[in-house]
Structures are given as structure tokens and as C-alpha cells.
């Protein structure tokens, strides 16, 4: 067991380093060609300048001054926050997906399975159609409404499943009912959307354009809170995988833990969807792949899924920016194109093995 722990530690270190590398690459590459030297200068100039001030080295003080403002703006104020938000969204969806897969005892579940995505879409569409001038929130009216919609759908699932006892099956059925209902509401909204049709549909296709530090800060607390709850219950998630009864016998307060995990998962999903729309496959494929590689024990699975999710989403966003530059592909298309075949491969592997 000792040797396994050690090799796992190296694996995490590797993933973390990869994450930093991916962050660097995603900021360095984009639609506009910016030479690597410019990025290096932008990143290190504060430090080098400060050192130059300290030791009175004029060359060091001037380091990085030649980088044009536009490039600096693009690197630090457009790309960096965008990649950061993408990574957070990747973490959120992967953790939510892993949690739903564990809770529902189904390795093919995804974070949208209880209707959170439908609720978020309805929220966003409603906000776009009403064209409400939310003076306080301004451009954040849509993410806020999407978030509220996502959480609202879980509330609906809860109230629907109250009657028959909140077993997994009941919640799944309620989730299907809520998804279907909200899907119909969404269709109705789209029907009446008229001129806004394009915007609603495009929002749903998913993407990170226009994501800035405010978006980053607005989802960070939800991400932190939700992740904390999920990690807190990682051993219990293992037990739940064996069934409610068995988990009970191993000391898990099944009802309470399930509630907490569902809410945590919904929080993560709603916050991700609110900033980037409906991006599919990440929440399904990343945890599933990490489970295939590292096993189903959640203490290993969850951190691995989080790191891998961040990397996957950042790379998908990078591809969406680069493949058809200066036009942008919706990120949802990229994740589907990558995730779809990969998903088929996973299914095939299951059957063969």
C-alpha cells in the first residue's frame, strides 16, 4: 500500500505541473499571434522591474516596457481571466459529474441529470427575453438568472420526490420530469424570443467569451464551498456506491449525506453553467476517464477529476479560439467532438472487458 501511495503522489504532482503548463500555453496561444517573448516579458516584468529598482539596474527597470499595451491587455486582461474561468468551470463540472456518478451509482451519469442545466437555460433565456435592465447586476443579470434557474430546478426535484421518499430512483424520475418540463418551458421561451433567438441559442451552445475576473470571483466561493462539501464526504461516496443499505451499515447517514452532496453538486453545476452556458461531456467523460485510470475510490478520483477537468476545459477553450480564428467555435462543439468519440470508446471498453 505504501508504494501505491507514493506513486499516486507523483501522479498528482504531474497533473498539477501539467495544469500550470496548460495555463501558460492557453494564455500564450490565441487568435492573435503574440510572440512568446512578449508573454515572458509581461509575466516577469513586475518582478524584474522591482529587482531593477532595488539594485539600480536600468536595463532591468526597462524590462518589458516594449510590449505594446494591446498585447499586454490581451494576455492579462482577456486571456488569463478567460482561461482561469474555464479551468474553474472544468473543475466544477468534473466534480459535480463525479459526485452524481457516485450518488446515482451510475458511472455514466452527468451533472445535468437532475435538470440543473434545463433550469439554468430557462433562467438565462428568461433574463434575455425580458431584457430587464438590472442596474445593479448589469451584464451579470444573465449569469445570476442562470444560477437561480439551476438551483430552482433542484428545488423542484426535491419537492416532487418528497412524496415517495427520497430514494435514488425517485429523484432520478423527478429529475427526468423536471428536465422535460423545463425543456418545454425553454422551447416556449425560444418560440417567443423573436429577435433574441440567436442570443439564446448561442448562450446555450456554451463558451467563455467575455469572461473576466469578475466572473472568476463570482463562481469561486460556490466552487470552493461545493468542492469542500464533496471532498468532505469522499469516503462516504465510496460507501454509497455499494448501495444505501450497505452504506448505512458502514456508518453513513445516507439521507443527510445525499442531500448535502446533491446540493453541492447543483451549486457547482449551476455556477459553471451561469458563466459558460451548457457545455456537455466534461462532467461525464472526465470523471469516468479518471475512474478508469485511477480506480473508483473517491479520495483519489476527486482530486484527479478536478485537475483533469481544469486541463480539459482550458484546452477545449483554446481549440475553440484557434481552430477557426478569428471566428470562434462554441466550446460545447469541441467538447462534443472530443468527448463523443471518447465516450463511445469508453462504452466499447466496458463491453469488451
Amino acid at each position: 500500500m505504501q508504494r501505491k501511495v507514493k506513486s499516486r503522489a507523483w501522479a498528482y504532482l504531474g497533473l498539477a505541473l501539467l495544469l500550470v503548463l496548460v495555463l501558460f500555453v492557453c494564455v500564450a496561444i490565441g487568435s492573435v499571434r503574440i510572440p512568446l517573448s512578449a508573454l515572458v516579458k509581461t509575466v516577469f516584468s513586475p518582478l524584474v522591474n522591482a529587482l531593477g529598482e532595488l539594485f539600480s539596474l536600468p536595463a532591468w527597470q526597462d524590462f518589458g516596457q516594449d510590449v505594446p499595451d494591446t498585447w499586454r491587455t490581451i494576455l492579462l486582461r482577456l486571456r488569463l481571466p478567460r482561461v482561469a474561468v474555464a479551468m474553474l468551470a472544468g473543475v466544477a463540472l468534473s466534480l459535480a459529474g463525479a459526485t452524481m456518478q457516485g450518488l446515482l451509482k451510475n458511472p455514466l451519469a452527468d451533472p445535468y441529470i437532475l435538470g440543473v442545466s434545463s433550469g439554468a437555460a430557462v433562467g438565462a433565456a428568461a433574463a434575455m427575453l425580458m431584457g430587464l435592465s438590472w442596474n445593479l447586476l448589469g451584464a451579470f443579470a444573465i449569469p445570476a438568472a442562470a444560477f437561480a434557474g439551476g438551483i430552482g430546478s433542484l428545488v423542484m426535484v426535491y419537492s416532487l420526490s418528497r412524496g415517495g421518499g427520497r430514494s435514488v430512483l425517485n429523484m432520478l424520475l423527478a429529475g427526468v420530469a423536471v428536465s422535460t418540463f423545463l425543456g418545454a418551458v425553454l422551447s416556449l421561451l425560444i418560440f417567443f424570443s423573436g429577435q433574441q433567438l440567436q442570443q439564446v441559442v448561442f448562450w446555450m451552445m456554451g463558451g467563455f467569451s467575455g469572461c473576466n475576473w469578475f466572473h472568476f470571483l463570482s463562481i469561486l466561493p460556490f466552487l470552493a464551498g461545493g468542492s469542500l462539501v464533496i471532498f468532505w464526504h469522499s469516503r462516504e461516496l465510496d460507501a454509497l456506491a455499494l448501495g444505501d443499505e450497505q452504506a448505512y451499515y458502514m456508518g453513513v447517514d445516507v439521507e443527510r449525506v445525499r442531500h448535502r452532496l446533491l446540493w453541492a453538486s447543483a451549486l457547482l453545476t449551476a455556477s459553471a453553467v451561469s458563466v459558460c452556458g451548457l457545455i456537455g461531456f466534461v462532467g461525464l467523460v472526465v470523471p469516468h476517464a479518471m475512474r478508469l485510470i485511477g480506480g473508483p475510490v473517491h479520495r483519489n478520483l476527486l482530486p484527479a477529476a478536478a485537475l483533469a477537468g481544469a486541463i480539459f476545459m482550458a484546452v477545449a477553450d483554446l481549440l475553440s479560439r484557434v481552430v477557426l480564428a478569428p471566428t470562434e467555435l462554441p466550446v460545447g462543439v469541441i467538447t462534443a467532438l472530443v468527448g463523443g468519440p471518447f465516450f463511445l470508446y469508453l462504452l466499447k471498453k466496458r463491453r469488451v472487458s
Partner: protein, 257 residues
Amino acid sequence: MVLLSLEAVDFSYGNSFRLEDINLGVERGDFIGIIGPNGSGKSTLIKLMAGYLSPDKGTVCLEGQLLAKLERKAVARKVAVVSQGVQTGFAFTVEEMVRLGRLPHLGRWSNEGPGDAAAVGRALAQTRLEAYRSRLFSRLSGGEAQRVLMAQALAQEPEILLLDEPTAYMDMAFQKEMFTLMARLNQEGITVVAVLHDVNMASLYCKELVALRQGRILIKGNPGEVITRENIEAIFGTAVAISPHPVTNRPQVTMLP
């Protein structure tokens, strides 16, 4: 001293099934076998004893305290259950399954320590599963899977072991191993309560038998008291012959054609 007690317990499940007026005291060191025909309520009784089901009337107490009021994890440190037919769609290895048994003893953030590894190793050794460590639980045969669940329960290091038909799906050799194991565990101080379908094995190994029929305890006592022709006929509704076991003298049931 009474570890687990059920007093005047009634339980019903919908309109069809009922357990009525169950009074049972399990003392430390007991080795109780619960026998009875299908549908008599044996599994339900175990679930009530484990606290998974709550009685409609009456009380279930662990060490004098109401089971329903105790913290789940605390109970799991004392009581372990080996139930039937646990399945999972996830690729847990045997070792990972057994390690899950340490859950009641582990803090949220702490890593598993040498004590935990030792408990797991012991459990694997006791169930002769060391060679199975890296095998996938979902690919094991029914009998092998049962042993893994037994190991998982043992890794919990419980004071009381509740088992629901632990030797189903097992061949003779493994059945014997399981019973020998249960007997040895009992000798080491663990209280064992097992639902058993094989009356003869129950008679051979258990110190006490509890016979259920149609949701009521028909009779309880040591095997000599319980396994009589009249009693077996009353419990199972079929005529049998009783003869003493050639080695241990415990009563054995023989079916009459």
C-alpha cells in the same frame, strides 16, 4: 451482559408482511442462529437489529441505549453487517472493498494509518482472500463476493457481527470455512448473530437458535431444545427425522422423502 435487545417489537411492511411481538436479548459472546422458512421475517429481523429499519412498536437497544438515537458512525464501530447480494457498477478491487470497512474508524481528512492497514490485512487473512487483493469485486463469483463482504465487515472490527445468509452461493468447503471462521471469531469475543438457511449447520455451530415462523418467534433455545421433530414440523411444516451428529452429538435434521 446484554448488548442488543429487542423488546415487544412490531414491524410491518405495507399490508402483506408483519413481524410481531419480537423479544430477543443478545448477550456478549452469543452465537445465535436465526432459522425459519422463507418469508418468516429473518432478514427483516437482522435489519431491525442493525437499525436500518425502525420498529413500529417496541424498542431496539444497543448497550441499553435506543438504537435510533445513536450516531450512525458510532454504531458502525460496534456493529457490522454482512448482507446479501451487494452489487456495484464500479470497479472496486477486493482490497479497496475491504478498506471501506475502516470508514467508521477514520476521520474525514486523515489518511489511513498502519492500524488500518493491519486491520485490513487481518480481515483478508481471516477470509483467505490475500491472493485476491487486486481482483475486481464485480467479477467475483457469488461465494467469493460473500467472503469479501465478510472481510469488509471484519475490517470494521466490530463487537457484534450480524449476518444475513452468509453462506448462500458457497460450496461445501467454503461453507465450512465460513462457519469455522464465525466460531473462531466468537471464541475471540465477537458476538455473532446469523440468519441461516441450513438448519444442520446452524445446529452444529451455533450456541443458540431462534426460530421464526410467520413473523413471530416460535421458539428459542440451544440446538438441543429447538431441533426436535415436533418443533421442526411446526416451524417448517414438513415431517423430518432427527438424529445426533456422529461427532458432536448435536441434533441433525434429515428430510423424509
